[in-house]
């Protein structure tokens, strides 16, 4: 069996092993290479900087643990940024597994994370609120944007919305200075843009997984989204702009080797394939 044949019949578990090593190696010896920030992420930052302090922003946290490596660091940085700007945050979710992650992220931010001081003074119900999950996908999106209380009579703590000062005067999409969607798929960005952004003209930005990000470029280019963060790189960019040393920046380190491995695999696989075709 020559090398080409061996490669053709290579057990894929060797490749799994290689990828495993590629994932672990940077943890042992970080490369810490510098990187340029994406303009679309810079736009999110600039957009939030433009929101006057004291305004209320709606965050729809539509992801679950599966996409947490990509989107959780973004959420953390986002709450840090919003708290830093003294913006009030109303968080809701269209994904059932999201609300505990929201609580966790905000707790971390309050404690202080990534070299940023904490925001211990932020009060639940006054500075932020976690409304929780509702089933119903676009129907929830539509109801929330007209009248939050029609779907959310209570928050995750079981309290009536009217018992929280932050909800005072907040009834629908018109009362939010911006809407930020952290989305891992359906229901997510597309539904928010279609049902809410194009209808109410609310300023909207999104963080999404790298997988889906490019599908939403048309929304960004048409101005429907004022910023778009793609996957872990986007989260790392945001952390960098914000001056946080977060999880995404260290994660990006791991991506270096992983990407090189995949490119190597594609090139090698094709080489083997074409050589094999020539010698039938």
């Amino acid at each position: 069996m020559n090398l080409r044949e061996r490669l053709t019949h290579l057990d894929r578990r060797w490749l799994f092993l290689l990828m495993g090593l590629a994932l672990l190696a940077p943890l042992l010896m970080p490369l810490k290479l510098p990187f340029a920030q994406d303009r679309m992420v810079q736009d999110i930052y600039d957009g939030i900087e433009k929101i006057p302090p004291g305004s209320t922003v709606l965050v729809s946290s539509d992801f679950d643990p599966a996409s947490a490596p990509e989107l959780y660091p973004f959420s953390v940085a986002l709450y840090q940024h919003l708290f830093q700007r003294d913006i009030k945050v109303v968080v809701m979710s269209l994904w059932p597994a999201a609300p505990p992650l929201v609580t966790k992220a905000i707790d971390e931010v309050k404690k202080g994370v990534g070299g940023k001081p904490g925001f211990a003074n932020k009060q639940y119900g006054t500075d932020y609120i976690n409304l929780g999950f509702r089933p119903g996908e676009i129907l929830v999106i539509k109801s929330v944007s007209d009248d939050i209380r029609s779907v959310y009579s209570a928050d995750t703590q079981g309290g009536r919305l009217d018992s929280y000062p932050i909800m005072n005067g907040v009834n629908g999409m018109k009362d939010f200075a911006a809407m930020i969607n952290v989305s891992a798929g359906y229901p997510g960005i597309k539904e928010w843009v279609q049902q809410v952004q194009s209808r109410y003209g609310v300023r909207m930005a999104c963080a999404t997984t790298a997988v889906a990000a490019l599908d939403y470029i048309p929304y960004y280019k048409s101005g429907q989204l004022f910023g778009l963060s793609a996957g872990m790189k986007g989260s790392a960019d945001y952390e960098k702009i914000l001056g946080v040393d977060g999880k995404a920046i260290s994660g990006l380190d791991t991506q270096n080797i992983g990407h090189l491995l995949i490119i190597f695999a594609i090139v090698l696989g094709n080489a083997v394939y074409f050589l094999g075709r020539r010698k039938p």
Partner: protein
């Protein structure tokens, strides 16, 4: 009757939800709000039904000791344990220190994220074994993919700058690909998909598309 009633229901809800965008009149807006609220209830019932189905499908199998019945039993036990604890603690999955939160953090999170983490491995194997430059299309796709893959990581940025003496900035090229050719392609797909969705929507509302009634 079995077909007519659902078709009428679809027609009414569909028309109200369409017209609602154009008419701010309360006679349209109030039914619309009710449809949204009721629809949400129906969808939560669907979820409950789905969970019930797990029991209905698996319990007989466990009782009959079919193949892998032990795993099914573990699944049902895990489900009942989670649900039981959750109901006992009133669904407070985000209360630190509660059992529900422990289950969420130490069972659901690692399990779900590892399930998806498998994809990182599969993509390596697929890259090696299945992604072939068999045609002009596939070649082009892989070329663009490699550029983007390199341009999105620090090491690619560094290499491109070093190798070309700063003439080529990969992240800029990636931005250009995203903003120009990618935009054209994605927008065309978006427009086409929108046309498809609209025509299907119209057919559904008018009862010409009724495949969802089968079964």
């Amino acid at each position: 009757m079995k077909k007519t009633i659902p078709l009428i229901v679809t027609f009414i809800t569909g028309v109200i939800m369409t017209v609602e965008y154009f008419s701010p009149h309360p006679l349209v807006q109030h039914p619309k709000a009710a449809i949204e609220k009721w629809g949400i209830s129906v969808m939560s019932a669907m979820i409950v039904l789905g969970t019930l189905n797990i029991l209905i499908v698996n319990l007989p199998r466990i009782v009959r000791k079919e193949r892998d019945w032990m795993y099914k039993a573990i699944m049902v036990a895990a489900m009942i344990a989670t649900a039981g604890l959750g109901f006992y603690e009133q669904g407070k999955f985000d209360d630190k220190g509660s059992f529900s939160n422990w289950m969420f953090t130490h069972l659901l999170v690692p399990l779900q994220s590892t399930m998806f983490a498998l994809l990182a491995f599969y993509i390596t194997s697929a890259a090696f074994r299945a992604f072939r430059a068999r045609s002009v299309e596939a070649t082009l796709l892989l070329a663009a993919a490699i550029i983007v893959m390199l341009g999105r990581v620090p090491i690619g940025e560094l290499l491109s700058a070093k190798l070309t003496g700063g003439a080529l900035n990969l992240p800029d090229l990636v931005s250009w690909i995203n903003d120009v050719p990618n935009l054209a392609g994605k927008r065309a797909i978006m427009v086409g998909a929108a046309l498809g969705a609209i025509s299907t929507g119209i057919r559904v509302i008018l009862g010409m598309e009724r495949s969802y009634l089968a079964g």
